[in-house]
């Protein structure tokens, strides 16, 4: 499955075209060479067609690392105009690693499931930005937030990830405020034992709600 070209509402800049380089049931890492302006964004939903392509795994990018290579340090230290061409080439095609948290998958009938797939994505499986319609379908139920809240991989930065994810998805829903309300309701239910964190999170969401 190839990503569509052009601007994608869920991502930034051009379409993502990555490959899985490490994976587990809960998380995976993809690598890709992208220009600076097309760097994937935290909170973007991506998909991997996996498990004999019967399901489409959906995940959210929670970390991005731009990798160095042999030239990077040289160029950084050099001041010569001679390396300007090299630098430009490097910036145009930097190697980026994206860490993705699995949120669930779309089954063979296109229904959203908010649990881990039976198997992790395989090495070199293609990682693409989700289509707008897929995002709408997957986020129509606020249960998509639960894996983020329960993930040990993300740690304390989950609240920023949640806000970013909701912000990106909200723009695709016809009733933006209703979507944010349903997310806030789910968060209040899930974080009922963590009132201070809940309140902080809801305060952040209020900025989107206004």
């Amino acid at each position: 499955m190839e990503a569509t070209h052009g601007q994608n509402a869920s991502g930034v800049g051009e379409a993502l075209n990555g490959r899985v380089i490490r994976s587990s049931i809960e998380t995976f890492v993809f690598g890709t060479r992208v220009p600076e302006q097309a760097t994937p964004a935290c909170g973007s939903l991506v998909k991997v067609s996996a498990v004999n392509e019967k399901v489409t795994l959906i995940g959210v990018i929670y970390d991005i690392a731009v990798q160095e290579n042999a030239l990077t340090r040289m160029i950084a230290r050099a001041s010569s105009e001679d390396l300007r061409g090299e630098e430009s080439a490097l910036r145009e095609q930097a190697f980026v690693e994206g860490s993705v948290l699995c949120l669930g998958y779309l089954d063979a009938r296109g229904r959203a499931r908010y649990t881990f797939p039976a198997q992790p994505p395989w090495l070199l499986d293609k990682v693409l930005n989700c289509e707008d319609d897929e995002i709408r379908r997957f986020t129509s139920n606020p249960r998509f937030l639960v894996p983020i809240l329960r993930s040990r991989a993300i740690g304390l930065s989950y609240s920023r990830l949640i806000v970013a994810t909701i912000e990106r998805a909200a723009s695709l829903h016809a009733d933006r405020r209703a979507f944010i309300e349903s997310c806030a309701e789910e968060l209040a239910r899930q974080l009922s034992d963590r009132p201070v964190e809940l309140d902080d999170l809801l305060r952040e969401l209020e900025v989107l709600y206004e």
């Binding site: 309701e185 034992d193 009132p195």
Partner: protein, 561 residues
């Protein structure tokens, strides 16, 4: 102080609805005994739901359960929640998930196979709870019997009439309770008019305050028609006065001036005055011994100081021999002196009491106006008790005769008594005929309609026999307890009573209603009393003139031609 905002209609969720689509919440637990718990939807405004509001719950098996809200509770999953300021999103989120709005619902009825029965089970978890539809409310609260009385409207919904089945109401005794000025008389008078109009029973009113006969005093100087001025029933109402001068002063007509002969008074009649006149045990014993010491028909004359010379000599001898204690006798005389010298007390019976009983036996209703004597509790208690004792005897006889003839058409009588605690106080309830009627006269077709401000002073056993209780606002805790004591769910009913406003709001419970109902009672105004008037009387004077002209016009035109 800022003014309270009105409840938005769409959120109020307490009125009945034409459809079954508007839900309040779902059942989340509870029991039949304690009431089921209903978690309200986020949209339901909790302030719009009050104790006593009626709801329906859809069961799993097609049955519909009906009940009323008996308590309202707020809770939270976490008391440490940070209160939102004016933020709508945070408020929304907390309301939707972390905050609980729960109402406790007492289930009373279940609709099974199109019949209303007492609820003996509960709907399952997550059963949808909604407002009553208008049709359901009418089915429950508006008796479809032709012989019914419009008491008022549901407190929650002025579009649903509350109608009492008069047959059921009069089968047992009824209590109308409430502190002064709450609307007891405005409710009782049209209720009696309906009983008379529909010929459900004859009525005997002991009218302590002269309200029921000709004119009922309203607020200020307003006057409203009494039973005798309601043209549809006036032929079946007889006004009897104890105080002719008062009747004349008030321009209140009467058929009979009621006189009580001394020879009609019995020791039991005086014993019922124990509290009112402050008789002690020795004095009561003396009253009872007098008929044995004198001629049984003459003892009262001796006591009233109207004995013959011979009787006075015998009295002196009794004092001398110690058979009577002079000081005790004199004390009784002093206490009775004013009472036995009232104008309505005569030397001999005038037959007026028999006339009253005769009216009641021949399908007439009687209002006994006390005039100025209404201010004398002793006079009121004496006359009411004496008449009732005679009536009791007559009705027992009539019923037994009817039964002997295999028929069941002996007349039904409702005795209306104000300040009922005077007759039904625990100390005298066993002695008075009122106590007997309250306890056992249902089988003789005589029941009481008690109007009282102090139900706590009425004998508990008598209270337990009251079939239907119509209770306005009460301020005394003991009175509130007395009304609900012995009833199922007394605590819940207490809450409902406590929610009543001080005027024209009543809780009706018991035999004549399918479940306890909070009623906004009708004002006794033109719209009410016209229901008891002939068709011409229902019109305004201008309308009556126009109607009369219309009726005579053809004749006049014919004559002119």
């Amino acid at each position: 102080m800022s003014e309270a905002k009105p409840f938005p209609e769409e959120f109020f969720n307490a009125k009945t609805t034409a459809s079954q689509t508007e839900t309040l919440g779902v059942v989340i637990g509870g029991s039949l005994a304690d009431g089921v718990l209903v978690r309200l939807n986020r949209q339901t405004v909790v302030e719009g739901l009050r104790v006593g509001s009626y709801i329906a719950a859809q069961g799993q098996t097609g049955r519909t359960f009906f009940g009323y809200i008996s308590d309202v509770e707020l809770s939270t999953f976490n008391a440490a929640l940070v209160p939102p300021d004016e933020s709508t999103l945070r408020r929304f989120a907390y309301e939707a998930s972390a905050l609980n709005k729960v109402v406790q619902v007492k289930l009373e009825l279940v609709s099974e196979n199109n019949e209303l029965r007492t609820a003996r089970s509960v709907p399952a978890h997550f059963a949808i709870v909604r407002r009553l539809t208008k049709a359901e409310a009418q089915r429950i609260f508006s008796s479809q019997e032709s012989r019914s009385h419009r008491l008022g409207y549901l407190l929650d919904d002025k579009d649903v009439e509350v109608r009492l089945n008069l047959q059921q109401l009069t089968e047992r005794s009824t209590g109308v309770f409430g502190r002064s000025g709450t609307g007891k008389t405005f409710l009782t008078l049209p209720l009696l008019a309906s009983i008379i109009q529909h010929q459900v029973a004859n009525v005997l009113v002991f009218d302590m305050h002269n309200d029921y006969g000709y004119n009922l005093k309203g607020d200020g100087n307003s006057q409203r028609p009494g039973l005798k001025r309601l043209s549809n029933i006036q032929d079946r109402v007889v006004v009897v006065t104890l105080d002719e001068r008062s009747s004349m002063r008030r321009s209140s007509g009467y058929e009979i001036a009621l006189k009580i002969g001394l020879d009609e008074i019995e020791p039991e009649d005086l014993e019922t005055l124990r509290d009112v006149l402050g008789f002690n045990e020795a004095q009561i014993s003396t009253i009872h011994v007098l008929p044995k010491l004198f001629n049984p028909e003459r003892w009262i004359y001796v006591l009233a100081g109207r004995g013959t010379g011979e009787e006075k000599q015998r009295l002196a001898k009794l004092f001398d021999s110690g058979q009577l204690v002079e000081s005790t006798f004199n004390a009784i005389q002093r206490k009775l002196n004013r009472l036995l010298n009232f104008e309505f007390i005569t030397e001999k019976s005038t037959g007026a009491v028999d006339k009253v009983i005769n009216y009641l036996s021949t399908n007439r209703s009687v209002v006994v106006e006390f005039g100025e004597f209404g201010r004398c509790t002793a006079a009121y208690v004496l006359v009411a008790n004496l008449l009732t004792r005679r009536i009791h005897d007559t009705y027992v006889m009539l019923k037994e005769e009817a039964e002997a003839q295999g028929s069941d058409d002996s007349p039904h009588l409702v005795i209306v008594v104000e300040e009922a605690h005077r007759f039904l106080d625990p100390k005298v309830a066993n002695l008075t005929t009122f106590g007997t009627i309250a306890r056992e006269m249902r089988k003789y077709n005589v029941t009481l309609l008690i109007v009282d401000q102090r139900p706590s002073q009425i004998d508990r056993e008598v209270m337990s026999q009251i079939g239907t209780r119509i209770t306005f606002a009460l301020s005394d805790e003991q009175d509130i307890n007395a009304v609900v004591t012995g009833l199922r769910d007394s605590q819940r009913l207490r809450l409902m009573l406590a929610s009543l406003d001080s005027k024209q709001q009543a809780l009706v419970m018991g035999h004549a209603v399918k479940m306890p109902v909070l009623v906004r009672t009708l004002d006794y105004d033109q719209s009410v009393w016209r229901a008891y008037a002939h068709s011409l009387d229902r019109l305004t004077p201008e309308e009556q003139l126009a109607k009369s002209l219309q009726m005579i016009r053809p004749q006049v035109e014919a004559d002119l031609l």
